[in-house]
Symmetry: C2
């Protein structure tokens, strides 16, 4: 493992249908992150902030990063908005790691935010559905659920995988979310309930789709050398990898493979100088249940077409060989777009410090986060280890 | 001077009312940048791309960075969209410098783009006027010209500066733009014409306001060590500084001072370990003529209220003591929002290599770019030197 930066603090709001607006959510996440630092932190040591958001509630579309300093109580903070759709958070985290490596600042703040409910339809149009391809998908009426429905249909057919594999992802992630006090959905579902739910985009049913959520998450990163100033239990960022793909799925060679994730994973493992067998658990981008199956294969944890059997075997459960989404994933924890990638890293921060409470993965020492923008057009993979 | 990264290639489309759409503009700028590298460049050495854009033509709002790899002929390129309103380009450039310093890639591509004309009003709403404060300015009907009109009114009154100082900025920048084949406006204006133009937001008239333009610019950055592989005449990035301010101007202590620029300039000069007297010329963010006067003061080249007299003295002309905006500035060259900060650095690339043609600043060895988001809410200042 090559330690590239260290996470020393993290704050997470509840995900769900919240009363708070975007400014209040940012403030709340930052305050919690500052309060989480074991030995305390002087706000003035924070020299740079990244804001990951697709639409800031449809309210402050441009220049929203200026609000980061205002709401964090750090007027003047240099701040940058990063937007790579649903992967905004993962890319902001990687930008923060680069900034730490470049010595740009002692401490870098990363905030992911989305306010998606209590927003008028006119404003929702700003940011819902704008992250898929416009020419060939959106204008033809193909929604995200539609794209993933096509992918799922193809995947189940060519690999002869039963719908129960998809439903098992939902059952597992809801069971994990039920133990996460920040999750949007904190209730279990049964396999029968998942299978019987109304169809959204065949073969995907209601429980195959993540919800539309509000929420914000903040992380504080520093250098490996400075980390002991803040805590005895830093979480190291060891590897980062990212890639892109053709925005329209029709341009790709294969509908059931996200090459951006494959390339990002290769780069991340190379960058961390480690291997898949050493990963204790995975935070995968399960915007739809099918996406978790693809992720297992594209990240290299299962062969082509084998993720269904792996999931049905229970291996990805919290007590399985390779726990996936112990926090409930996008499926149950919720998916406030810009916040998701930061939230995945927050879960890693808790788990690798042994602070994940009822959902703790025993003995977790390393973890991988996987954050996807659109239907696989951008992908960021990050590898962490316990200090 | 502390060399932090090197610019080894640059490409610039015409700025103006163009037939091309956003994809074609990106492709054109990238192709020109690749073609500009003295010893050639293998696209595969480019490991990371930043796309600075506010709205990608109102067409691909989310995940637009995925298109960078497609249009640059580099499928799979890790790519990140950075949006800090009109300062998106300056912040993307600084992110690229950090990535080079962090060793993330041998060569990093930065592209700034905006497609602002030939866009329906429904789409323009996505990105025009969304970068000022929403609650206190936009919803009250205060446009950008309105905000800068208020600032100009106050500035002229408290410092007893005549409107001729503003008009002189326009005359100078139009004269420079007339020598720039990529400029939106390539015609001179007289002082009388500028003063007599219809008022837009008193005291600002038509010639005090930059136009709405299409355009794209691409730059290739590498490390100082690798630069000789590509050219004998790299341009070094020596200092970067950035800051933010309250988004709503009413929250600030002083209407006629942009503290974000003051802090960004201090950080940039500290980072470059140089001083103002060594700067050969400045690329200032003159979205309105008043903004160039504020910039001269906030960057430390003139005392409070003294930029008017400095401008009237001719010192900021192309043959003056401190040339400002030799490329015509936003005023005459045009202001395709996300492209502007990258275009400023492109002008520096040309000038410091002695390749600026008819508008060459004789003996230019160092330069400073100043890129502002909104009405001063975000600001990025960068210092360069000739290799």
């Amino acid at each position: 493992m090559v330690h590239r930066a260290a996470v020393v603090g993290g704050g997470h709001t509840r995900f769900g249908v919240l009363d708070e607006g975007p400014r209040a959510l940012v403030r709340s996440a930052v305050d919690r992150a500052l309060g989480s630092v074991d030995r305390g932190i002087d706000r003035r040591s924070i020299g740079l902030g990244y804001l990951a958001t697709l639409g800031f509630g449809g309210w402050q579309i441009g220049n929203a990063s200026a609000l980061l300093g205002e709401e964090a109580g750090m007027p003047g903070l240099p701040s940058v908005r990063i937007e790579n759709a649903c992967a905004s958070g993962g890319f902001a985290l990687q930008a923060a790691v680069s900034s730490i490596q470049a010595g740009a600042s002692e401490v870098v703040l990363v905030v992911g935010l989305e306010k998606m409910t209590d927003v008028s339809n006119a404003r929702r149009r700003f940011w819902l559905g704008v992250s898929g391809d416009t020419e060939w998908e959106r204008q033809a009426g193909l929604t995200f659920a539609g794209v993933y429905g096509l992918i799922a249909d193809r995947y189940l057919k060519i690999h002869a995988v039963p719908r129960e594999a998809l439903a098992t992802v939902a059952v597992k992630n809801h069971a994990n979310g039920a133990l996460n006090p920040n999750a949007h959905f904190q209730k279990r579902v049964t396999l029968d309930e998942a299978l019987a739910a109304p169809r959204v985009a065949d073969p995907l049913g209601l429980y195959d789709c993540c919800p539309v959520s509000d929420g914000a998450v903040a992380l504080l990163l520093t250098s490996v050398e400075l980390a002991p100033r803040f805590t005895d239990a830093p979480v190291y960022v060891d590897g980062i990898g990212a890639s892109s793909d053709f925005l329209a799925v029709q341009e790709r060679f294969d509908l059931t493979r996200f090459d951006a994730t494959r390339r990002a994973a290769e780069a991340a493992f190379r960058s961390a100088d480690t291997e898949r067998g050493k990963i204790s658990f995975v935070e995968a981008h399960d915007c739809f249940t099918i996406a978790e199956l693809l992720a297992l294969e594209d990240l290299g944890f299962a062969g082509r077409g084998e993720a269904g059997a792996l999931t049905l075997s229970g291996a990805t459960g919290r007590d399985g060989r390779l726990p996936v989404n112990p926090d409930g994933g996008l499926k149950a924890k919720g998916h406030p777009i810009g916040a998701t990638g930061v939230s995945q890293a927050y879960e890693v921060f808790l788990q690798l410090r042994g602070s994940a409470g009822a959902r703790q993965v025993p003995g977790a020492r390393t973890a991988l986060t996987h954050n996807v923008g659109g239907a696989g057009a951008t992908s960021a993979v990050t590898i962490f280890s316990a200090g």
